[in-house]
């Protein structure tokens, strides 16, 4: 039974990873792409790892998978934040149809 749940989780996780990649290709600028890649890949990979842990049962593999899942949950949003801030600092523009950019004021303040 746990095997079946594990395989279902792996399937859903891989599907989320694929959708995240589709979003990564389709979205217009780096910030929207980060949204797709961060969210979908985080959940997809965590589901994959939990599925692996369920299938392998209590043991070395499962504990490693759980440790990796926690690590990804903490580091993935931090990395996305670093990439977003870094690309803004190095002058990557928002998509031209973007509605509002409050951050431009702050960045302008720092330069002057």
């Amino acid at each position: 039974m746990t095997d079946v749940i594990g395989y279902i989780l792996i399937t859903i996780g891989v599907l989320f990873d694929i959708f995240g990649c589709i979003g990564l290709v389709r979205f217009p600028d780096v910030y929207n792409r980060l949204q797709a890649s961060t969210k979908c890949v985080t959940l997809g990979t965590i589901m994959l790892l939990v599925g692996v842990a369920l299938i392998s049962g209590v043991g070395p593999t499962a504990s490693r998978a759980v440790v990796c899942a926690v690590f990804i949950l903490i580091t993935s949003p931090t990395a996305a934040h670093a990439i977003a801030k870094g690309s803004y600092a190095s002058g990557v523009k928002l998509w031209e149809k973007s509605v509002v950019d409050k951050y431009a004021e702050e960045a302008g303040k720092k330069e002057s």
């Binding site: 989320f16 959708f19 961060t38 440790v67 934040h81 801030k85 973007s98 509605v99 509002v100």
Partner: protein, 171 residues
């Protein structure tokens, strides 16, 4: 003196985490190789990174905070799953219904760890990505579907549902 004490505490904590984390890896035995590797890793962490760890770490060991953390985890995962369906919908929709922008929101949280937790929660939840934060409690958030560029309205939409929990866990 205080600095050395802090480093020693981090060393011991790191070693304990290593042993408890490594124990299942070695099929129930802790061998000398594992232990030496743990000592080296804990030394590196304690001596290089003692000043980037949160200063107010002692407050986390409290049953009330642990309780709210346990309540927060399912809520958090609910929002993560919601966020994923949101992104999948926007990515697969032929017309791509997005109107992105960077908005400014205000937070009342004070401590470093609380603001970090809030920023990470915002990044993993529907349509929002933290870009930067200022020292006086404002966060710049990239929003995939901007509903309002007013500070108060945006704060209400993005941060309010987490602030309540995070204030109870980390402050």
């Amino acid at each position: 003196m205080k600095l050395i004490a802090r480093r020693a505490i981090y060393f011991v904590v790191g070693l304990i985490i290593w042993i408890f984390g490594a124990w299942p890896f070695t099929d129930g035995k802790i061998d000398i190789q594992m232990f030496v590797a743990g000592v080296i890793a804990a030394l590196i962490v304690a001596f290089l990174f003692h000043d980037i760890l949160p200063r107010e770490h002692h407050v986390f060991v409290s049953p009330v905070r642990m309780f709210w953390l346990l309540v927060y985890i399912p809520v958090f995962f609910y929002y993560i799953i919601k966020a994923n369906f949101d992104v999948v919908y926007r990515a697969l929709h032929p017309k791509m219904p997005i109107s992105p922008g960077i908005v400014k929101i205000k937070t009342n949280l004070k401590t470093d760890s609380a603001v970090t937790a809030l920023a990470n929660s915002i990044t993993l939840t529907p349509g929002t990505l933290t870009v930067d934060l200022t020292d006086d409690g404002f966060l710049y958030v990239h929003w995939i579907n901007v509903k309002s560029d007013d500070i108060d309205q945006a704060t209400k939409h993005i941060a309010q549902k987490f602030e309540w929990f995070i204030a109870r866990i980390f402050e």
